[in-house]
């Protein structure tokens, strides 16, 4: 008989915070982007040759709406570091870019080419969960220091690269998306039982479906999946999916459709009055550049950000790294950053900090082994909050978050209701180190086996 607890106790146990002051630093001393750089003095003789990074992301096709912000975040960080003379004040960062839309096989070839003929020192970026598991093993084989900034499938470090040495990933794990949406939905609408799903038919959609359902079962008791739709990624015609969803009369629609697809989905759903007929929770409504979503989007929807980052949070001047980042990013690109921008920006700054720490230990330019040793276990005050690299699996950990959509007169597009932002420490919703691996993901198995059922 599984343990039974009240939902409120359960959420408290998970460490769920709503709209409150996250990122309470305590006594931790962690470098922030601006401060750390000014006070840094490199030890020993550092060469002045450029430090070459290869940044791969989507520049063409429908996913460019995610890829462009990723590149802009990367370039902003590179420009900041170069303004200080480069890494260790000496090595300017040069970026070779590659279009991820070329396809998985071509991307693998491109990584080899960048390493072998462009002689990149570090590989960054990558958005698709279909690509990181193919690129990860190749990066290990090429001995290329790699900082993935998305492509967040659990599969990468569970199966594709189970013992990473050169490969890291700074953004949250995919399973967090479904779990966060379930937490938000069960908190906002505790009576919901009948669930409809619309997901893109590939690994990301399947992952969101599985983790939402298992978390929802634990949080809300007996839920019932009344409708499923699996459109192809890249679909912009959802009329039949919408009609099917409405005809099943669900209490809640959960969808992980993203990018241009999501824009088409919500605009068409509006015309069928779908938002009036059910609650809606998403994993990626706010994944694209903010201005891509119109103010015609109904308020109150769970507007996911891939459980990673929204530019309004942490809000105001409460968290300096974010206030600084948003301002710099806006000044540079005349738009607001997305979670992809933040991931790419943070990756490069974490690399900088690791290089600086390694330099203090060994002097001169540290080799990759020294940089890797410093990246493992690194805690960094990123715009999104503290980001920690777990040494055992090289996965970045930070508070997972989601929020509710609101239309504010301050912005030309919908934003988060700052009073209702939900944050959860990622360790509360991800399998702990060493937990026996399982299907479809270790986290799924861990939730199924260890979470109590709330009553």
């Amino acid at each position: 008989m599984p343990e039974e607890v009240s939902r409120r106790d359960f959420l408290n146990r998970l460490g769920v915070t709503i709209g409150a002051a996250a990122a309470s630093a305590g006594s931790l001393v962690v470098p922030t982007p601006a401060e750390a750089q000014q006070s840094f003095q490199a030890k020993g003789k550092v060469p002045t040759t450029p430090y070459k990074t290869g940044h791969m992301t989507f520049f063409t096709g429908p996913a460019a709406v995610l890829g462009e912000p990723s590149y802009k975040g990367h370039i902003l960080a590179a420009e900041e570091i170069n303004a200080q003379g480069g890494l260790l004040g000496k090595r300017k960062i040069e970026t070779v870019k590659a279009d991820e839309a070329a396809g998985t096989d071509a991307n693998v070839k491109e990584l080899r080419r960048m390493k072998l003929s462009e002689k990149i020192d570090c590989f960054t970026g990558v958005i698709s969960s279909g690509n990181t598991p193919a690129l990860g093993p190749v990066a290990e084989e090429l001995k290329t220091l790699t900082l993935f900034t998305d492509g967040c499938t659990d599969f990468l470090f569970e199966k594709a690269v189970p013992n990473p040495h050169y490969v890291f990933r700074v953004t949250n794990i995919q399973s967090a998306d479904g779990v966060m949406a379930a937490i938000a939905a069960s908190m906002a609408w505790p009576k919901v039982t009948k669930i409809a799903h619309i997901h893109p038919d590939y690994s990301y959609g399947r992952n969101a479906f599985d983790h939402f359902n298992i978390a929802m079962k634990k949080l809300s008791g007996n839920i019932q999946v009344v409708s499923e739709a699996w459109p192809k990624l890249g679909t912009t015609e959802f009329t039949a999916h919408i009609t099917k969803t409405i005809s099943a009369k669900p209490d809640l629609l959960f969808t992980s459709v993203w990018g241009g697809d999501y824009i088409a989905l919500y605009k068409q759903a509006l015309r069928y009055d779908l938002f009036k007929k059910m609650k809606v929770a998403t994993t990626l409504a706010f994944g694209v550049v903010p201005q891509a979503i119109g103010k015609d989007h109904p308020a109150g929807v769970v507007a996911g950000v891939h459980a990673n980052y929204h530019f309004l949070y942490p809000a105001g001047n409460r968290w300096l790294p974010n206030a600084q980042f948003v301002k710099k990013y806006y000044d540079r690109w005349k738009e607001y950053p997305t979670f992809e921008s933040e991931g790419a920006y943070t990756a490069l700054h974490m690399l900088r900090v690791a290089v600086e720490k390694a330099n203090q230990l060994v002097g001169g330019w540290p080799d990759d082994q020294a940089i890797i040793a410093m990246l493992e276990g690194l805690m960094y005050a990123a715009p999104a909050g503290y980001t920690y690299i777990r040494p055992d699996n090289h996965q970045g950990y930070k508070d997972a978050l989601t929020g509710f959509l609101v239309n504010s007169p301050d912005y030309a597009f919908p934003v988060w209701d700052l009073k209702r932002v939900i944050t959860v420490p990622i360790r509360s919703i991800t399998a702990p180190p060493g937990y026996p691996k399982g299907e479809p993901t270790t986290t799924y198995k861990w939730i199924e086996e260890t979470w109590p059922k709330s009553a």
Binding site: T60, G61, T236, A240, S247, G259, I263, K267, R271
Partner: protein, 291 residues
């Protein structure tokens, strides 16, 4: 019952869009024996130009006037067609088909990049148009008025194209050229002119398709490639080069896809290709194709 009716309307709606894309592809092949790989990109050009034009003047004009701007999207695609045929395709007619495929595929890549350069990486939307048509109530179900408009446009396009090809002098010349280009030429038909006109009409239909779908789905990078694949499925079923085939193919694909989504959600990805495979197996030239 309400769901059934809504889904029938959805099928017709989807078939309308598919027909607008596929009829041009089929027409161009029927007359010129060219498989235009860039056809989907002209559909995207229609969507982007319409979204851009509407965005430019949306705040000055009444919504009903904005509808007219959708024609600008179609006109832009037609203009592109009128320029592309004489410059890029005409020199290749004497060459083997591979050259034409390579040329139009290259054109696809160039157009995709051009659209990104001109309109940037983010989707353009102009949903004021779809909001303008109120949703109507059909047997208790809500149905978007704009979708009905698209169905009407698709139907009108089918009738108009049919009348044009079977009831006008130009249509006779077009069909003559399609059946035997050398003989038509020998009889004094200006084949060059017929070619550029046929290609322009094909592009016009694609551009119109992109423009009318834009208020619902936005103009997004990559939409042209997606549309091209769907158009191929339609013409494989209907028969390449046949207008009736494009219409029947679009209706079949629209209906089967809706059925698939409704009852076999798991195989939505595969269902269209399955129909195409079955048709290819039973009638390799398609339902209305000439072998």
């Amino acid at each position: 019952m309400d769901t059934l009716l809504t889904q029938i309307l959805n099928s017709l709606f989807y078939a309308s869009i598919l027909f607008l894309i596929a009829c041009g592809l089929s027409l161009v092949y029927g007359v010129m024996r060219i498989v235009n790989m860039a056809h989907g990109s002209l559909y995207a050009v229609g969507a982007y130009v319409a979204a851009w034009a509407v965005g430019l003047v949306a705040s000055y004009l009444h919504v009903s006037l904005l509808l007219v701007l959708l024609l600008i999207g179609a006109a832009a695609a037609a203009l592109a067609g009128a320029l592309l045929e004489p410059t890029l395709l005409r020199p290749l007619y004497q060459r083997p088909e591979e050259y034409q495929l390579l040329m139009t595929f290259g054109l696809l890549l160039i157009l995709e990049d051009l659209m990104r350069m001109v309109w940037g990486p983010y989707p353009l939307t102009a949903s004021a148009l779809s909001e303008f048509f109120p949703s109507i109530s059909v047997l208790g179900a809500t149905y978007p008025g704009y979708n009905i408009f698209v169905i009407v446009v698709g139907g009108a396009a089918a009738v108009g194209l049919w009348a044009f090809i079977y009831r006008t002098r130009f249509g006779i010349l077009l069909r003559a050229t399609s059946q035997n280009m050398r003989m038509a030429s020998a009889l004094g038909v200006d084949v060059k002119r017929i070619y550029v006109q046929a290609f322009t009409i094909g592009c016009l239909m694609a551009g119109l398709g992109g423009a009318v779908v834009m208020p619902l789905s936005g103009a997004v990078l990559g939409m042209g490639v997606d549309a091209l694949i769907l158009a191929f499925v339609v013409v494989v079923i209907g028969g390449l080069g046949s207008l009736e085939g494009a219409l029947v193919g679009a209706l079949i694909v629209g209906a089967v896809r809706t059925l698939g989504i409704m009852y076999f959600a798991e195989i939505e990805l595969a269902v269209l290709y399955l129909i195409a495979a079955v048709v290819l197996f039973l009638r390799p030239a398609g339902l209305f194709g000439r072998a």
